[in-house]
C-alpha cells in the first residue's frame, strides 16, 4: 500500500463518519433549524473529504474532485439558507428552550408571527 492510498482511505473514513453524524443529528435535533445546522455542516465537510479521498485514490480525477468540492462549498449553505427562510415564512417558528421567548427570535420583526406557539415536534 502506498502512502497516497493510506491518506485517501483515511479521508474516506473521516468523510463517512461525519456523514453518519450528520444523519444522527437530523434524527436527534428538535426542529427544522437545528436539523439544518447539523445536516449542513456535517454533510459539507463529510462530502468534501469523501470526494477528496476519491480524488487522491484515483489521481486522474483529482481536478474534477476539486471542482466538485468548490460546488459543494458554494451550494450547500445556499440551499440550507433557502430551506430555513422558506420554512420560517411558511409559519414554522423555531423551537426555543430558554424562558425569554420574545428576545430570542429576532427574525419576527421581519416576518410577524401569525400563530401563538412554535411547532411541537
Amino acid at each position: 500500500m502506498s502512502i497516497l492510498e493510506i491518506i485517501g482511505g483515511i479521508l474516506l473514513i473521516i468523510g463517512s463518519i461525519f456523514l453518519f453524524l450528520g444523519g444522527l443529528g437530523i434524527y436527534r435535533m428538535p426542529d427544522t433549524y437545528n436539523r439544518l445546522q447539523a445536516g449542513t455542516k456535517a454533510t459539507t465537510l463529510g462530502g468534501m473529504s469523501l470526494v477528496l479521498g476519491v480524488g487522491i485514490l484515483e489521481p486522474a480525477w483529482i481536478w474534477k474532485a476539486l471542482i466538485i468540492i468548490i460546488f459543494i462549498a458554494y451550494s450547500n449553505p445556499i440551499s440550507s439558507h433557502a430551506l430555513a427562510r422558506a420554512n420560517y415564512r411558511r409559519g414554522h417558528y423555531p423551537y426555543i428552550k430558554s424562558k425569554d421567548k420574545k428576545n430570542m427570535d429576532a427574525y419576527q420583526e421581519v416576518v410577524p408571527h401569525t400563530k401563538e406557539k412554535e411547532d411541537k415536534v
Binding site: 445546522q37 447539523a38 465537510l45
Partner: protein, 170 residues
C-alpha cells in the same frame, strides 16, 4: 440592473473568461492543444453571454494583495469549518443534547451583494450558526447555543473574523 461602462464590461468579460478557462482545464485535466483551443472558444462565448450575470468584480480582483487575502480567507474558513463539525458532533453525541437555540441579528459593514453572499455562506458553515435571511445590511442568524441577543456582541462573536478579511478582498 445597473448600466456598465465599456471598461467594466471588458474587465468582467476577461475575468469570466479566465475563470471559465480554469474550470475547463480542470474538467478536461489535459493540456493537449486541441482541447485548449476548443475550451478557449467555448469559454469566450460563454463569458460574452454572461457579462451581466456571473461576476462580482472587474480585473482588479486579480491584484496580488487581494489574492493573498483570498488564500488567507480560505484557511480562516477551513479552520472554522472543522471546528464547526466537531462542535456539531459533540452536541449530537452527548445524551443531554446541549442546545439553546434562537435567532439573533446583527449589521454588517459590507456593501456589495456578492460579499454579503460569501459572508452569509461562511456563517452557515461556522460553529453553531445558520444564516436565515439577509435584509439590506442586517443578517438574521439562527444560533444553536445563544450566548447573547445583543446585535453588537453577536456580530463580534459570529462575523468579525470573516468580515475583517472580506473587507480587504472586496
Amino acid at each position: 440592473m445597473q448600466t456598465l461602462t465599456f471598461n467594466q464590461k471588458l474587465g468582467r468579460f476577461i475575468l469570466n473568461w479566465i475563470f471559465l478557462m480554469i474550470v475547463w482545464l480542470m474538467f478536461t485535466s489535459t493540456l493537449f492543444w486541441q482541447e485548449v483551443v476548443v475550451g478557449a472558444l467555448v469559454s469566450m462565448l460563454l463569458s460574452l453571454a454572461s457579462i451581466r450575470l456571473f461576476t462580482c468584480c472587474t480585473l482588479s480582483l486579480l491584484n496580488p494583495v487581494r489574492i493573498f487575502w483570498m488564500i488567507w480567507y480560505f484557511f480562516v474558513f477551513l479552520k472554522a469549518l472543522i471546528i464547526a463539525n466537531f462542535d456539531v458532533a459533540r452536541r449530537v453525541i452527548s445524551p443531554s443534547l446541549p442546545i439553546n437555540p434562537g435567532i439573533v441579528k446583527f449589521k454588517t459593514k459590507l456593501k456589495t451583494n456578492y460579499s454579503k453572499m460569501v459572508l452569509a455562506n461562511s456563517i452557515t458553515l461556522t460553529p453553531g450558526t445558520l444564516s436565515v435571511d439577509v435584509v439590506g445590511d442586517t443578517f438574521y442568524i439562527h444560533w444553536i447555543d445563544v450566548e447573547t441577543t445583543d446585535p453588537e456582541e453577536a456580530f463580534k462573536i459570529i462575523a468579525e473574523p470573516f468580515e475583517k478579511v472580506l473587507l480587504k478582498i472586496f
